[in-house]
Amino acid sequence: MLSQEAQKQIDREVAKYPADQKQSAVMSALRIAQVEKGWLAPETIAAVADYLGMAPIAVYEVASFYNMYDLSPVGRFKLTVCTNLPCALSGGVHAADYLKHKLGIGFNETTPDGKFTLKEGECMGACGDAPAMLVNNHRLCGWMTPDQIDKLLAELE
């Protein structure tokens, strides 16, 4: 189920922890699996559990606790906009409204072509660059004014 490349990456994470604490690598393993598969289907969670010698339910507990794991399919680009107070003071909510209008979708929705999913996020620790948003979890973008949002959307292909 997990590719050899994914397994290699997971092995590197496992090596960070004591030999009897493989479970410590579960957050990384889920992240690696999600990047490979796009989202965490039950069989992907089971594969991670199998690889780390954990009960599937224990892996599911982790996958469902942390917000950045996707337990249902998302578009090719998941945009998570911070609307928390510090960002909102500098346009976080307006940036989200602007995206909703441009993409024609609301939070937790995906465009019909499967390209974009929009999510509302909590503090990303980038309030000085507000409005802030994440692209596919790993790319943090700041100062997302209308111009910058237009540029980002044009660039994501």
Binding site: N84, P86, S90, G128
Partner: protein, 439 residues
């Protein structure tokens, strides 16, 4: 001599995070000094106690004292853990430390390992700054290659291994025992204390957890002496502090200043209020700290004692600035939603109470408030405080209590008139989002 900058001093651009650049700035000299002079762990801890360094993550606990709690003659593994799970709304200083000066954190953690007899460390990094998790791994590789990490560091016989671990979107993992659970590969639900991590921490072993900025302050203290560090700040509030300033100022960002610097000075450093508007309120220490009205805030100096005397907390040094375009009910509504969303669900008062408070503030904001709602809010908040395993419950209650206390008339106006004192177009103008050509 006034020292304004210790951690962010001399950082200019993309290369400063590299080992070579750090060494050029005097990096790893503190570690070399400890090993060459064969300073004892007790001497290192004594220096920290003298410095009056206090935890920079929010609680402000004296670092030297914390380190002295680790059992000395324990047989078996001990751990040092860095908390870079920076998710307290308004806080973004650790991100800049990790971006521009990760080796200073690494050096501080190695020294911590030495002082507490710990052989392994983990740095828990906020999932949302994933690029800096990758950068930190690269910095660790550099430190290993140079012999600063691993076995027999610089031929001293002392060994220390350090690894990066990332979060993936859970505010609660900033709480130290939730963070430990998370490293163990579980849901981040806080543990009962006692036992404290110094006796039962990661994998049940003695563990000390400090904030990123706290570790970063350590090398300077060893190089220059604890007394110098204390002198840079004010008594009981040693050194410098990095403030994250967000909201309605002209130049939001991180600013490192000496402890005890007047708030008004920081405001000037940020280029003053955006659009020249008037300061209405300030949350001085991250969203969990009680809000203060402008007049009280303007009289504060930036240190633990002054802000605590004013009725709030220095916390993580996250200064959220709000001007007169802000509706305080709406601001509280968003914060209450945050705590409701991020409550881990373990304790009933927090799980149920955060949702209850959010729903009541939400209905006031949307014109459905009832005259008894303000007393209800205060009562729910009071019943959460002190009745939960961790501090998230209190953190959710403080904003509610302080917003209602200081801005009660604004809440009452909402309930009576079913609308806000601040007209919608004025509120909308505050963010500057719609100003064409900005950036």
């Amino acid at each position: 001599m006034t020292i304004q900058s210790i951690i962010l001093a001399g950082l200019d651009g993309d290369r400063s995070w590299r080992l070579a650049d750090y060494v050029q700035r005097g990096g790893y000299e503190a570690l070399k000094k400890i090993l060459a002079q064969k300073m004892t762990p007790d001497e290192v801890i004594a220096e920290l106690k003298k410095s009056s360094l206090r935890g920079r993550g929010g609680a402000g606990f004296p670092t030297g004292l914390k380190w002295s709690f680790m059992p000395k003659n324990y047989v078996g593994d001990k751990y040092v853990v860095c908390n870079t799970d920076e998710g307290e709304p308004g806080t973004f200083k650790d991100r800049d430390i990790m971006r521009y000066n990760p080796h200073m954190v690494i050096e501080g953690m190695i020294i911590a390992g030495y002082a507490m007899g710990a052989g392994t460390g983990y740095n828990y990094i906020h999932g949302e700054i994933f690029d800096l998790y990758l950068r930190f791994e690269e910095a660790l590789e550099e430190a290993r290659a140079a012999g600063f990490l691993g076995s027999d560091i610089l031929g001293s016989g002392f060994s220390f291994n350090l690894h990066a671990h990332h979060g993936y979107g859970a505010y609660i993992c900033g709480e130290e025992t939730a963070l430990l659970e998370s490293i163990e590969g579980k849901k981040g639900q806080p543990r009962y204390k006692p036992p404290f991590p110094a006796s039962f921490g990661l994998y049940g072993k003695p563990t000390t957890i400090n904030n990123t900025e706290t570790f970063a302050a350590v090398p300077w203290i060893i190089n220059n002496g604890g007394e110098k560090y204390l002198e840079a700040g004010k008594p009981n509030n040693g050194g410098t502090k990095i403030f994250s300033v967000s909201g309605h100022v002209n130049r939001p960002g991180v600013y490192e200043v000496a402890m005890g610097t007047p708030f008004a000075t920081l405001l000037e450093m940020c280029g003053g209020m955006r659009g020249g508007r008037k300061l209405k309120a300030c949350i001085p220490g991250g969203s969990s700290a009680p809000v203060l009205p402008a007049d009280i805030m303007m009289d504060c100096t930036l240190d633990y004692d002054s802000i605590s005397k004013a009725g709030s907390m220095l916390g993580s040094g996250a200064v959220i600035i709000m001007d007169e375009t802000v509706c305080m009910v709406k601001a509280l509504e968003r914060l209450s939603y945050f705590y409701h969303e991020e409550s881990c669900g373990q304790c009933t008062p927090c799980r149920e109470g955060t949702g209850w408070m959010y729903r009541v503030v939400h209905r006031i904001e949307h014109g459905l408030g009832r005259p008894e709602d303000l007393d209800l809010l205060t009562s729910v908040a009071d019943n959460i405080c002190g009745r939960t395993i961790c501090a998230l419950g209190d953190a959710a209650a403080f904003p509610v209590k302080s917003f209602v206390k200081h801005f009660r008339s604004e809440f009452e106006y909402h309930i009576e008139n079913k609308k806000c004192l601040v007209p919608p177009d004025v509120q909308r103008s505050g963010s500057d989002f719609f100003v064409a050509g900005k950036n």
